[in-house]
């Protein structure tokens, strides 16, 4: 079953991107100043890299050039300097061997995310009210007319007035390192009410009703 797209998931992805060593690697490629290297090394050492898996990322550009992942444990067949080579002598931390040719992890980077609910449905389009999650809105501020073909066949079957969906526009990074602009709709499969939730609701109701009955 398709997992619902959660804001927390997307935020986590975004945070992951921010920590991604790509920008470090691209900086590193042109770095000549020892201060920059020292800063890079400091940030690098904070990443808690496990000694047993001495592998890390390189920029998509490098990855695309080589087109394969290389294990630093094995014999090197080219002369591309590793991160460790470049920072050697600049800092005295644990020596980290770097594989500049790892495959890029697939990831979705959202640019805009909404939660919507269906207001009306016609044969070819839906009318939906949208809450701008990226902008931190808590109530509908926009209304969209969306062609039904934008939804997957499974989701089209679920569409009904009041149904809630998530919509994100962003970049999908492919394992090859290329990126693709995507618009992703996911009709939410919301959980069911549980006995516990309904019992809690009844208890809270009883307390409130008792208070109001005082009058």
């Amino acid at each position: 079953m398709t997992q619902p797209l959660r804001l927390s998931d997307l935020k986590a992805t975004q945070q992951l991107q921010e920590r991604d060593p790509e920008p470090l690697a691209s900086l590193f490629d042109g770095a000549k100043e020892s201060a920059v290297l020292a800063a890079l090394a400091k940030r690098w050492s904070e990443r808690k890299v496990e000694a047993s898996s001495q592998r890390t990322k390189v920029s998509p550009a490098e990855n695309r050039t080589e087109g394969r992942t290389r294990n630093t444990e094995g014999p090197s067949t080219n002369k591309i300097p590793t991160f460790s080579d470049k920072v050697a002598g600049v800092f005295t931390g644990p020596r980290i061997q770097v594989d500049p040719l790892r495959r890029v992890r697939p990831a979705f980077v959202p640019l805009q995310e909404w939660e919507g609910y269906v207001v009306a449905i016609s044969n070819s389009r839906i009318l939906a009210n949208l809450i701008d999650l990226t902008g931190g809105a808590e109530r509908p501020g926009e209304q969209a007319e969306i062609p039904i073909e934008e939804f997957s066949e499974d989701d089209v079957r679920k569409l009904s007035v009041g149904r809630v969906f998530r919509w994100a526009i962003g970049y999908q990074r492919m394992p090859s390192g290329t990126k693709m602009r995507v618009s992703q709709f996911v009709v939410r499969d919301l959980p069911q009410w549980t006995q516990r939730e309904l019992m809690e609701a009844k208890k809270e109701t009883a307390e409130l009703a008792k208070f109001f009955e005082r009058s």
């Binding site: 009210n129 209304q143 009041g162 919301l190 069911q192």
Partner: protein, 366 residues
């Protein structure tokens, strides 16, 4: 929300705010006493329009607001209601007693147990309001047809509920009870309410000036319900109002010929707040119908937002390629302000329009 000067002590001031999604009426009933009916969010500040307005005038809501009336629980009438109540520490809170019945409370509590949905409903605000009332030990004042909700110490001002009728009350309790979720039911956003039963329409009299505040009361053509019940009531106001907050965003379902012939002066001053979410109100035919009854009719905001939202180019490109159109449904908060002197009520009302407000004969539905 922009501000004018503070009304004089002997002036009644009625501010009707409507940003396109929501409604709030702020009334100075004289002598620095204020009443707030419903609540909506000011589109510029994101705060309750009533608080922004009062604070802008230098009015302390904690002491000056005497009554908050929640006409009904729908999203567009309770936006920011809990913040408003928190700030208005000495205000009494009035609502239909149907909202404090176990059937409604259980639906509220159950539908608030859906943390995966960002989409809020009126339930969220109502739940916060009730929690606050309970924490304060403050029981609401219950609004039902023919009950006085506010009376000033010198009797120069009274706000009286015209609805809901007993029949509306019982019908609401019966219908809301069917929406209590059961175990293993999939969670959904609470379905958009199609009827505005239990809406509290009210009658304000200040000195010799009378104002009909229609809330979202609708007409069903059924004895004992809606406007038919109001018009049939033996305690119907004997006077005629010179001013009307048009019911239910000017829709035909909120109208009844008897409103204009039995409750209002001929060609009264009339104001509506638009509804830009889902099926839009008023429609062109609604505007034409109202303008035929009075030329002094106004809308608090325009049908379309004038703002152009800036987005990242990649987002704009994606929308264009997919043939998706998005529009803002909340124009800048607009309002219509009416003022009249309590000493010279025959001088009539002074009308001020915010830049977003406009005469109804210029309103063209989107």
């Amino acid at each position: 929300v922009s501000h004018s000067d503070h009304p004089a002590e002997n002036e009644i001031e009625i501010n009707i705010f409507g940003p396109g999604f929501g409604e709030c009426i702020i009334i100075h009933v004289g002598f620095n006493d204020w009443i707030v009916i419903d609540s909506c969010i000011d589109s510029s500040s994101g705060r309750p329009a009533a608080l922004v307005y009062l604070e802008g005038l230098g009015v302390d809501p904690a002491t000056a607001v005497k009554l908050i009336l929640c006409t009904h629980w729908h999203d567009d009438h309770v936006g920011g209601m809990s913040d408003l109540l928190r700030a208005c520490e000495s205000a009494r809170f009035a609502c239909s007693s149907a909202l404090t019945r176990a059937e409604f409370l259980e639906v509220v509590q159950a539908f608030n147990k859906r943390p995966l949905i960002a989409t809020t409903t009126g339930f969220t605000e109502i739940s916060k309001v009730f929690s606050m009332l309970r924490a304060r030990g403050q029981v609401p004042q219950y609004a039902i047809a023919d009950r006085s909700l506010f009376r000033s110490p010198d009797d120069h001002c009274e706000l009286k509920a015209l609805s809901p009728s007993d029949a509306e009350f019982h019908r609401f309790i019966e219908s809301i009870g069917k929406l209590i979720p059961q175990t293993a039911m999939a969670k959904l956003r609470f379905p958009s309410p199609s009827e505005n039963d239990i809406s509290v329409a009210s009658w304000l009299s200040v000195g010799s000036l009378c104002v009909l505040l229609g809330a979202d009361l609708e007409e069903h053509g059924v004895a004992g319900r809606g406007w038919t019940a109001v018009l049939a009531s033996p305690t119907k106001p004997p006077d005629r109002a010179t001013t009307y907050k048009i019911s239910h965003h000017g829709s035909i379902t909120g109208d009844h010929p008897g409103i204009w012939s039995e409750l209002l002066e001929k060609a009264p001053l009339a104001v509506l707040t638009p509804w830009n979410l889902g099926s839009k109100l008023p429609r062109d035919e609604d505007c034409q119908r109202i303008v035929r009854l009075t030329r002094s009719a106004y809308a608090t905001s325009r049908p379309e937002s004038r703002r152009v939202k800036t987005r990242q180019r990649a987002v704009t490109r994606t929308l264009r390629e997919a043939g998706i159109t998005i529009r803002e449904i909340e124009p800048r908060t607009g309002f219509v302000q009416l003022r009249a002197s309590l000493d010279h009520p025959d001088a009539g009302w002074t009308i001020s329009l915010s830049p977003e407000a406009l005469p109804l004969d210029q309103y063209r539905s989107a």
